[in-house]
């Protein structure tokens, strides 16, 4: 008896928890509200199924619990009922899958006007590279990584000279412009994860992965690493600031290019000697 009550309470409790608890996703800051919609559809369908199955079970347990002299009904199977249930389940599954696949096809189709932004991960910090005035990123290779060239950018490649380097600092993005995040790691697996953007993707050393999104509101958002990358994994944080166009341009002016960072080396060394 208690179990029938407990089953009802599990359903009621779960539904109330879902509706009343303060824990829900963070307010979205990108164009991927489609993902949220798909999630909500899934919540509805699965929630109804869960409540229906468990409540039906509770009813059965209460109604058909053992009483003196009671005997079970004999019924090996019912083809009609089973077929019917299969069809309904199939429809429910299709109702979740179809929007899911549709949104996925959008997710992997990068719009032509998206700007490239490269994220470089290493244990345990984030760096970024923006294409300079030419709009193109230079090639890179983790074999080229050294103390002077921590991101492994190819110094021979003319496209790379004007690339803006943001090493171990905040990334700024202009609001309302689609960006294609090119993800690169120079040591182990990482995952560039900003909860407000919804999108995320692993970074795999040896290859470049990507995802795209359009920031839809200004603000400062936290970057976390979402793929276990060693002891510092939990502390691998960064910040993405989404700015208005003016603020973004102002920030961009302050950044150094690859050429600026590599060329004045001797000057810096000379200054050190001079005192």
């Amino acid at each position: 008896m208690a179990i029938a009550l407990a089953l009802v309470l599990v359903v009621v409790g779960s539904v109330l928890f879902h509706l009343l608890s303060p824990w829900w996703w963070t307010p979205i800051a990108s164009n991927w509200d489609y993902i949220d919609h798909t999630l909500v559809i899934t919540f509805w369908i699965t929630g109804v199924v869960f409540a229906a199955v468990v409540l039906f079970m509770a009813y059965c347990v209460w109604r058909f619990r053992h009483k003196e002299g009671s005997k079970a009904h004999y019924e090996p199977e019912s083809k009609r009922l089973e077929t019917w249930l299969t069809v309904v389940t199939g429809i429910g599954v299709a109702a979740m899958l179809a929007p899911g696949l549709y949104v996925w096809s959008q997710f992997i189709t990068v719009p032509d006007d998206a700007t490239d932004v490269e994220v470089i991960a290493q244990q345990w910090q984030w760096s970024y590279r923006l294409p300079g005035a030419d709009g193109k990123l230079g090639t890179s290779d983790s074999r080229l990584v050294s103390a002077e060239n921590p991101l492994g950018i190819n110094p021979e490649d003319p496209n790379g000279q004007d690339d803006v380097i943001v090493e171990a600092a905040d990334l700024h993005l202009p609001v309302g412009k689609p960006v294609k995040m090119l993800l690169r790691s120079i040591d182990v697996l990482h995952d560039f994860y900003v909860p407000e953007f919804r999108a995320k993707m692993d970074m795999v050393p040896g290859s470049v992965t990507y995802f795209w999104f359009t920031p839809t509101r200004t603000g400062s958002f936290e970057v976390l690493c979402a793929e276990l990358c060693g002891t510092g994994h939990g502390f691998m944080r960064g910040v993405v600031a989404v700015d208005t166009e003016e603020d973004y341009q102002a920030w961009l002016q302050e950044q150094s290019t690859f050429a600026q960072l590599t060329a004045p080396e001797q000057v810096g060394a000379a200054e050190m000697v001079q005192p």
Binding site: P22, L224, C229
Partner: protein, 589 residues
């Protein structure tokens, strides 16, 4: 439809099996230690699995203590945290659940349920256990190795698994882990051959495939899958050992670790992930299918009703087993593999939900118009359905490629897989132990301790893992020893985490009551008799309880019917054992 006439029954010769030398062990050592009796091996497997599982349980407390009260326990450093998480996961999935369902329940139940005297290759079966024990010991040794066990996460993803930024990566930890897994796979293969061939060859007269209890179907299908899936883990482990020890570059790309160029080059970490999940996804069903089978039998027996839609249940088990080999990459939607794979794997993953749902409907429909005895095995079976439905439905979130994107690698995933392949199968394990303990020992479990254990475990486990989904929904990533000051995580999440930890500790301690009960009832439990649940399947029809080596005494049983003849109209009792010739008279002995 072939109906066998009573005349044909009379024609069956009795099967007197000659006394086999093997069934008369000569010494204490060969009876209890180096035994070739599948039932003793089963108990050895189960005992070892539960012992190492207890270690994993304690590790989970430490993990939860850190998550619930970060900064309180100085000895739980990030390194230690990752080591605890890794070992907890690995032990629970492989050394506890796989070993317990297949090595434990498989060994005990297959020969009894199909009416065999023993496994077909008893010596190999014994070796299987001892190699498994060795694997467990190697695993335990890693706790005492310099640098401690590996902290690479149970998925052991390279490159980090074998680099110095991960605990045990450049020390003995990862080596012992890989060695232990390789041993486990070798040992399991030996056992698995036995389970499969025994079902194929060892069935007694009249035991056709469609008369087998679903428990045997579940364990059989899971074993076939495991035999084909574990080689993938074997390949991954061997290649990773080569990378780590000999410096090959199967999985290792050119990389710079802590400012230093390593000599690796060109390898593919994704290749490892494909191999790992080619094992890892079937592994989910290797744990789930035996649970599906066992829970079907528990529900049917304790609701005094045949399992609804037996044929559909069999087809669903086989179908799920086959499909589960083409869904593996749904663990890799955000791994950076080619995005087109997402369409294929999302579709196959959601298709597999259909046969799974049918199984759930049939369990619930078995309750409909039943005569439900709310015994402890039945309670655990009901708890299984609730937690499995819950965990299975959240699987639809994670399997549906784009919905997975925001949720993957968050606590939502942790909550999902704990619910569906942690809590749910463990409920079945408990139900099964309460159900078959009387056969194994001849005594009943203490009812009151059992009730206490059930209620705390069911409500407690639900209270741990249901709210945890919402922690993930907020965006809290998994495998974070502490969240620190993070803007998007409200303080209430920390309170919720503390609540989950308290619930976890309570549930953990309730398991000690269960263990105590297991030993207490061995001595003080009520006498069970041969068939306390009045069940139909063959294991309850043995001449003596607990069954001796050789199971059946002089003659192996002759099977007249399927395993679910409960409440048959016109029958004198509400169950007809499989070896009961009713309504005909027995074949002449």
């Amino acid at each position: 439809m072939v109906d066998i006439t009573p005349r044909a029954v009379d024609a069956i010769p009795p099967a007197e099996v000659p006394d086999v030398e093997l069934y008369h062990p000569h010494s204490w050592w060969t009876t209890y230690v180096f035994s070739q009796d599948a039932k003793v091996i089963a108990i050895q497997y189960a005992g070892t699995a539960m012992a190492i599982g207890l270690v994993a349980l304690v590790l989970s407390w430490l993990v939860r203590l850190q998550l619930g009260f970060p900064g309180t326990f100085d000895f739980i450093t990030p390194e230690a945290y990752y080591q605890f998480v890794t070992m907890h996961g690995m032990i629970m999935v492989i050394y506890l659940l796989t070993a317990l369902f297949l090595g434990g329940f498989g060994n005990y139940l297959i020969p009894l349920m199909v009416g065999a005297r023993d496994m077909v290759f008893p010596y190999v079966n014994m070796l299987s256990y001892w190699i498994y024990l060795l694997a467990v010991l190697v695993l335990v040794a890693s706790f005492f190795a310099p640098g401690g066990p590996t902290g690479a996460g149970w998925t052991l993803y390279p490159p980090q698994a074998i680099l110095s930024g991960t605990p045990g990566g450049q020390q003995a930890g990862i080596l012992l882990m890989l060695a232990s897994l390789i041993l486990f796979i070798i040992g399991f293969t030996m056992g698995g051959l036995n389970y499969v061939v025994t079902v194929l060859q060892g069935r007694t007269r009249g035991m056709t495939l469609m008369r087998m209890p679903l428990t045997v179907w579940g364990i059989f299908t899971a074993t076939v899958m495991a035999l084909l899936a574990f080689p993938a883990l074997f390949v991954a482990c061997v290649m990773m050992l080569f990378d780590r020890v000999l410096g090959t570059s199967f999985f290792m790309p050119a990389l710079v670790e802590m400012g230093e160029q390593l000599s690796y080059g060109g390898g593919s970490p994704i290749l490892f992930q494909h191999l790992f999940w080619f094992f890892g996804h079937p592994e989910v069903y290797i744990v789930a299918l035996p649970a599906f089978g066992i829970v079907s039998d528990l529900i049917s027996t304790h609701a005094r009703k045949n399992i609804f839609g037996y044929r559909m249940m069999v087809w669903a088990i086989v179908g799920i087993g086959a499909l589960s080999f083409i869904v593996w990459a749904h663990h890799m939607y955000v791994s950076g593999m080619h995005p087109w794979f997402g369409f294929f794997f999302a579709t196959t993953t959601l298709i597999i939900a259909v046969p799974t749902a049918i199984k759930v409907y049939n369990w619930v429909l078995t309750l409909w118009r039943g005569d439900i005895h709310l015994t402890i095995p039945m309670l655990f079976a009901l708890a299984f359905i609730v937690t499995f439905v819950n965990g299975g439905l959240t699987g639809l979130f994670l399997g549906n490629v784009v919905v997975d994107v925001p949720l993957s690698d968050t606590m939502f995933v942790v909550a999902h897989f704990h619910m569906v392949m942690g809590v749910a199968p463990i409920m079945v394990v408990f139900g099964a132990i309460y159900h078959w303990y009387p056969k194994m020992t001849g005594r009943m479990f203490n009812e009151w301790m059992g009730q206490f254990h059930f209620w705390v475990t069911f409500i407690g486990a639900y209270a741990i893992f249901f709210p945890m989904h919402y922690v993930g929904l907020v965006g809290v990533p998994r495998r974070y020893p502490e969240l620190g000051e993070t803007a998007f995580i409200p303080d209430s999440v920390h309170t919720l985490n503390a609540f989950i930890t308290v619930a976890a500790l309570i549930v953990g301690f309730a398991q000690l009551v269960f263990l105590f009960n297991m030993f207490w009832s061995l001595r003080y439990g009520r006498d069970a008799g041969g068939n306390p649940w009045r069940a139909t399947s063959l294991e309850w029809q043995t001449p003596t309880t607990p069954p001796p080596h050789g199971n059946w005494g002089k003659e192996v049983p002759l099977v007249y019917r399927w395993a679910y003849d409960y409440s048959v109209p016109g029958a004198p009792q509400d169950f007809i054992p499989q070896n009961d010739p009713w309504p005909e008279k027995a074949a002449p002995a």
